[in-house]
Amino acid sequence: MARKECLAGLLIIIFCGVTTYLAIQLPMGSAAKPGPGIFPLLLGLVIGSLSLLLILKNLRSQTKLGDRGIDKEVPTGKWRVVYLLGSLFLYVLLLQPIGFLVSTCIFLIGLKPIIQKSWVPVLLGSFFTSVVFFFFFNYLLKVQLPMGIFAK
């Protein structure tokens, strides 16, 4: 756990380094007329300092307790997270080209490895849900959902 926190702190410090560099490119102005770069610069420095504190705190606790940062968490289920995030990205990528109706159906069918039910309920459920959502949001609530291949 301590090792994970040190890694998180390090990633945040790298992020702060990048953002501080970007902030410096902006006009700083003066004390009497501060520019748009001053606030993000100050924030970058504060966040970087706090993250360094986090790393030091965890390094100290590792040394004190003799914790070698062994992560005892069993990595089951992580694949589901990666798979779902990937599916969501792909779904949004297809949303406008092929339309809400078809892309939603494909997305829901694609969740079968996570849902772990047989094909018939998954296919029927995906089709039915896509149609209901489309009619509810597009016609009842007048949300302009992408028509894609059904566009006139």
């Binding site: 902006l26 004390a31 001053i38």
Partner: protein, 496 residues
Amino acid sequence: MNDLFLGFSVVFQPSNFLACLIGIVIGQIVGILPGLGSVGAMSLLLPITFYVDPTTAIIMLAGIYYGAQYGGTITSVLLNIPGEATTVITCVDGNQMAKQGRAGPALAIAAFGSFIAGTLGIFGLILLSKPLSQFGLRFGAPEYFSLVFMGIMLCIYLASGSILKALISAFLGLWVSCIGIEVLSSTPRFNFGTVTLMDGVGIVPMCMGLFGIAEVLINIKQGFERKGSVMAVGKLMPTRKDWRDSIGAILRGTGIGFFLGILPGGGAIMASFLSYGVEKRLSKHPEKFGRGAIEGVAGPESANNAGAQGNFIPLLNMGIPANAVMALMLGALLIHGVRPGPFLISQNPKIFWGVVASMYIGNVILLIMNIPLISIWVRILRVPYYILFPLILLFCVVGAYSINTNVVDVYIMIVFGGLGYLARKNGFEAAPFVLAYVLGPLLEENFLMALTESRGNLAIFFRSSISIAFLSVSFLLIISVVFPFLKKKRKIFAQK
């Protein structure tokens, strides 16, 4: 009191009562469906109000506003998806209560708390409307900066885990609020040349990602097996102990919400976060917060309803809108030829007192409508998760897309969903991040304006008693956290 009776007589006219009811129903639906938002719903319905008289129009629009507040509470408690920005903090303890089979008491106490806050708010409006709006005029840039700074320091009390991580989350939220056009100089920042990010990161897709998508990711990682009666539905109504625990929080939340609602910018959002911080600070068992403490629902829900009422004070008394919703109300009033301001009460008493009375009637309708519906709402929790989570994802995607009919908002939601998942796994909490993000623009704008006013002299923040008071509270908050840590250190040294 005669004026209030006039107001009630106006509301109970069939057309006005119907408008109030329609507004509340639409508002609640809008609040439940993330992404649509009360501003969006009010904008869509604004043309319809052209065909009715001004009183009816404002009563309906006001109904949408506070109907949406409660609708957002329902999804916050049941699904950990905040329907409105003001119900973000309700997710923290409300959803934990739902996981413990106490969704009914959470929703019921939110409804009752809102009703009590609404009732007391009416008296506040009648008695304190004028003096409070005058007090609000004393707030300049240094006072606003100090108030907002205090609000962000309160994030220390929102943390149920590491305070250092809560501070990092909050400052990261402040940084994300810098994305977009800088208010004073109109300089684009961190938008990487994209037009979408010129407006900054939208709060709705961000919250849906951090709370809704992240929650789904956490749950599917754990698998669908439910242990024991984690998602069982227990009693639907609060117990006597729940009431004893909540009544103080409701009264304090009402006071906090009402006073903060008067101030432009912060309003109901800050009131709900501040109320949560206060309840945690005052509680004899602060370790319960974040794990299903009913005070963590009662206080913020009362605060956001009282804040919604307080928002009307600067609007009706001075014609100053406190936020985007009130700006829309102002637009509606002007379209109907009504000019809000100090003479509104004398020139258009029916409108002023009609709106005031409609708030009370609206709260009664919400209570009567929602208490019987709680048993239906909690049934959502009985739906198997393999059916529920795809529906949650679809609602989030459509909700994010519907904001600007732009897929970039959906991408933002997914990115924040992934980040929210990683943050939760590593003990970084989302609530301080969201609070700081919301308050960031106010903090920066007032900081820069104050420095410009004083030509770079930081003493400006210590010139008024209001600013000194807020900064002192912030300092005490920091000390109260650091001091126990220092005390522990001294003990260790002494033992050595």
